[in-house]
C-alpha cells in the first residue's frame, strides 16, 4: 500500500462526495443546500487539484483537467451566491437553482475524475 496513493484517492473521492452532498436536495430551496458543504467542496477540490500537479502521464493531464473544470464551476457557484446575497437582490429561487446547477456541473467533472482513477487502478492490477 502506497500512502501517497491513499491520500490522492481520498481527496479526489472526498471532493466528489462533498460536491454531491451539496448538490442533493430541491434545487430552488436554499434551506436544503448548506453553504458549509459548498465551502468544503471547494476547499477539498482545490487540494485535489494541487495533488494532481506534476503528473507526467496522459491520464494525469486529463485528471488535472477534470479537477480544474470542477473547481471552476464550484467557484462560479460561490461567486453567484456571494453577489446575490451582498448585491442586494437577495437569494431568490431562481438564483438558488443556478447555484445548484453549477455545482451539478462540478459534480459531473468530479465523477469523471473518480471514474478515470478507478479505471487506472483496475488497469494497473493486471
Amino acid at each position: 500500500m502506497n500512502p501517497g496513493k491513499v491520500v490522492f484517492a481520498f481527496f479526489i473521492l472526498l471532493a466528489m462526495t462533498l460536491n454531491f452532498a451539496f448538490f442533493i436536495g430541491a434545487p430552488e430551496d436554499p434551506g436544503q443546500h448548506n453553504v458549509y458543504l459548498l465551502f468544503a467542496a471547494i476547499t477539498v477540490g482545490i487540494i485535489a487539484t494541487i495533488l494532481k500537479f506534476g503528473e507526467r502521464s496522459q491520464l494525469g493531464a486529463v485528471l488535472l483537467a477534470t479537477s480544474l473544470v470542477a473547481d471552476l464551476q464550484l467557484i462560479a457557484a460561490a461567486l453567484v451566491w456571494a453577489t446575490a446575497t451582498f448585491g442586494g437582490a437577495g437569494l431568490s429561487a431562481e438564483t438558488m437553482s443556478l447555484i445548484v446547477a453549477l455545482s451539478g456541473g462540478g459534480l459531473l467533472a468530479n465523477l469523471v475524475s473518480v471514474i478515470l482513477l478507478t479505471a487506472e487502478t483496475i488497469m494497473s492490477r493486471r
Binding site: 465551502f39 487540494i47 506534476g54 460561490a78
Partner: protein, 535 residues
C-alpha cells in the same frame, strides 16, 4: 526518440511542481480552517446584536490578514473570541506562506532546474535560427578562432562545450553575430539534437577535439541521426581516419598532414602559401607577409622530435629532395638509421646534427618548453637558420611570438584555417582549389596587386552575378574612371572556371564573378549593382 528526449527534459519541471504540492496544500488547509472559523465564531453587529460573519466577509478578512496587509476589523469591530481566533490565524497563515515561498525560492536555486532553464532558452534560440548554421563541438582555442572567422563572414554557428568557463568566454566574446552556446557533453546524442542536429538549416557539424575517440563518437552520432549533414572532423591517427571515412565522414582533417602540406607549399611555392593564408583568414585581419625567404627545395634541415608530427614533416621534406638530419629521443618511433640520439635541447646534440651547416631547423617535440629551448640554442649556434616551432599548448602563444620564429605550427590555427577553406562559399572554394594551377610568377604579381589594393588588410571576397554582360571592369562603378578598385579572382560560366581573368574578359548574363577588395569596395559594388537593377 523525440518523445524520450522531451520526457527527460520535462522531468525537472515536473519535479519542481511536485515538490510545491505540500506547501500549497498546507496553505489551502490553513486558509480553509481560518475562513471556516470566522464564519462559526459568534460576532456582534453595529448595534450590538449577535451576528455571524458570512463566508464572503471571512474570506475577505483572511485574505488581507494572511498576506499581512491588515486593513483592520472589517466589517464590524470584533468580539474577543474573534480576536483570539485572529491571533491564531495570523501565526498559522504567515508560517504557511513562509513555508510555501521558502520552498519555491529553494527550488528556483536548484542547479538542475537552472540547467534545464538554460537548455530550454538555448533550444529556443537554435529552433528560431532562420539561416544556415554550423554546429561546433567544443570551444577550445581552435574553435574560438574558427567561430570568430565564421562570424566575421556572417556565417552562423552553434557551440556545444563541456567546460562551463569556456561557454562563459563565448558569451563574453565580442562577435558580430549572436552565437548560442550550451555547457553540455557534445558526445551525447540528445545534446547534439538540442543544439540543432536535424534542424533544417543545419549545414554541418565540426568536431576538432584533440581526442580522436570524441571526434569519432560525434561523427558516428551525426551520420546516424542526420546523414545529409556535412561532418568535418579531426583525426590524428591513421586508424581513426580510415574508420571515419568508412561511414561517410565528409571532411577528415589530420593536423600533421596539414603541417606537412603547408611546409611543402611554403618551401616549393612561397607565394602560393602566402595567398592561401590570405584567402582563408578572416577579412579585416592584418595581412601576413613572408618574413624570411625559406630554404629552397633541396635545403639541409635538422628535425628534432620524431613523433607523428616529425614523421609527417620528414616525409614532406624528403619528398622535396631536402637533406634531413633527425634528432630523436625515442627509438620506438623508428627514426632513420643515421639519426642523432638526444633531445636537441643541448648544444652538443645539435652540433652533432651539424646545425651550423643547416638551412632550417624544426623543433617538433610534444613539449613546448623543450621546443623553445631547442630553438633558442639552435639560433645561438647558427643565426641564419630558418626556424619552425611546433606549439602544443594554446597558452604558450605569447612565448612563441616572443621567440620571433619564421613559422609556428599551431594546431588551432592550422585546423581553423583548413576548416574555413572547406566551409567558404562554393565559388571561393573553387578558387582555392584552382590556385595551385597558376604559375608561381603569376601568383607573385597577383599577390603584390592584392597587397597594394587592400593596404595591408586581409581582402574581402564576394560574388557578383552578371546581369548585362560586358567586360569585367564594367561591373565595378569606380573602374570607369580608370582606377581598378577590386580584382576578379574567378569567372564561372556553367561548369567552366577561369582563374584570375583579365579585366577585359567579356562576360555574359548568367555568369558569376568572384571579386576581392576592401570591405568598402564590396559595399560600393553591391550598392551600385542594386541601383542598376532598380533603374
Amino acid at each position: 526518440m523525440r518523445t524520450a528526449m522531451l520526457r527527460r527534459k520535462n522531468s525537472i519541471l515536473f519535479h519542481v511542481i511536485r515538490r510545491m504540492r505540500l506547501p500549497l496544500v498546507t496553505l489551502v488547509c490553513v486558509y480553509a480552517v481560518a475562513v471556516a472559523g470566522f464564519t462559526l465564531i459568534p460576532g456582534r453587529g453595529p448595534d450590538g446584536e449577535p451576528l455571524r460573519m458570512s463566508f464572503f466577509h471571512a474570506f475577505y478578512f483572511v485574505s488581507f490578514m494572511g498576506s499581512t496587509i491588515g486593513f483592520g476589523e472589517i466589517p464590524h469591530p470584533f468580539t474577543d473570541s474573534q480576536r483570539l481566533w485572529t491571533v491564531f490565524t495570523i501565526y498559522t497563515s504567515v508560517i504557511s506562506w513562509l513555508y510555501a515561498i521558502g520552498t519555491l525560492i529553494a527550488l528556483m536555486r536548484e542547479p538542475g532546474l537552472l540547467r534545464d532553464l538554460t537548455l530550454r532558452r538555448f533550444e529556443r534560440h537554435v529552433r528560431l535560427l532562420r539561416n544556415d548554421f554550423f554546429l561546433v563541438c567544443g570551444y577550445d582555442s581552435t574553435e574560438e578562432l574558427l567561430v570568430e572567422s565564421l562570424a566575421r563572414q556572417r556565417i552562423q554557428c552553434v557551440v556545444v562545450e563541456r567546460a562551463a568557463h569556456r561557454v562563459g568566454d563565448l558569451e563574453t566574446s565580442n562577435l558580430p553575430l549572436h552565437v548560442p552556446g550550451i555547457c553540455a557533453d557534445p558526445t551525447d546524442a540528445a545534446t547534439l539534437q538540442s543544439a540543432g542536429l536535424g534542424h533544417r538549416h543545419c549545414r554541418g557539424l565540426i568536431s576538432l577535439d584533440s581526442d580522436d575517440q570524441v571526434n569519432l563518437k560525434i561523427a558516428v552520432t551525426s551520420k546516424l541521426l542526420s546523414p545529409q549533414v556535412t561532418v568535418i572532423c579531426a583525426a590524428r591517427n591513421a586508424g581513426t581516419e580510415k574508420n571515419m571515412a568508412s561511414f561517410g565522414t565528409d571532411v577528415i582533417l589530420d593536423p600533421f598532414a596539414i603541417f606537412a602540406r603547408q611546409l611543402r607549399t611554403l618551401v616549393s611555392r612561397p607565394h602560393l602559401y602566402q595567398l592561401e593564408k590570405w584567402f582563408t583568414a578572416a577579412p579585416g585581419a592584418p595581412l601576413c607577409g613572408l618574413p624570411h625567404p625559406p630554404p629552397g627545395a633541396g635545403g639541409r634541415w635538422v628535425l628534432c622530435g620524431f613523433g607523428r608530427y616529425g614523421q609527417a614533416l620528414h616525409a614532406a621534406l624528403r619528398e622535396l629532395g631536402g637533406e634531413v638530419t633527425v634528432v630523436a629521443m625515442n627509438p620506438a618511433n623508428r627514426p632513420p638509421p643515421q639519426a642523432v640520439f638526444g633531445r636537441g635541447t643541448e648544444a652538443v646534440t645539435l652540433r652533432e646534427a651539424e646545425v651550423e651547416h643547416a638551412d632550417g631547423l624544426i623543433a617538433g617535440t610534444d613539449d613546448d618548453t623543450n621546443n623553445l629551448s631547442i630553438l633558442m640554442t639552435a639560433r645561438d649556434l647558427n643565426p641564419k637558420l630558418f626556424l619552425i616551432g611546433r606549439q602544443n599548448k594554446p597558452a604558450n602563444t605569447a612565448l612563441f611570438a616572443a621567440a620571433k620564429l619564421n613559422l609556428v605550427n599551431h594546431y588551432s590555427e592550422a585546423l581553423a584555417d583548413d576548416v574555413m577553406a572547406s566551409l567558404t562559399a562554393p565559388l571561393a572554394r573553387d578558387f582555392l582549389h584552382l590556385l595551385p594551377q597558376a604559375a608561381e610568377h603569376t601568383l607573385e604579381q597577383f599577390a603584390s596587386k592584392v597587397r597594394k589594393l587592400c593596404r595591408g588588410v586581409t581582402p574581402a571576397v564576394w560574388r557578383m552575378e552578371v546581369a548585362r554582360g560586358g567586360a569585367i571592369t564594367g561591373l565595378h562603378p569606380a573602374a570607369r574612371d580608370g582606377r581598378p578598385r577590386c580584382i576578379a579572382l574567378l569567372l564561372a560560366r556553367g561548369t567552366e572556371r577561369i582563374l584570375l581573368p583579365d579585366g577585359q574578359t567579356a562576360t555574359a548574363p548568367g555568369d558569376s564573378v568572384l571579386f576581392c577588395g576592401t570591405q568598402a569596395d564590396r559595399f560600393r559594388m553591391r550598392f551600385a549593382a542594386g541601383e542598376g537593377r532598380r533603374a
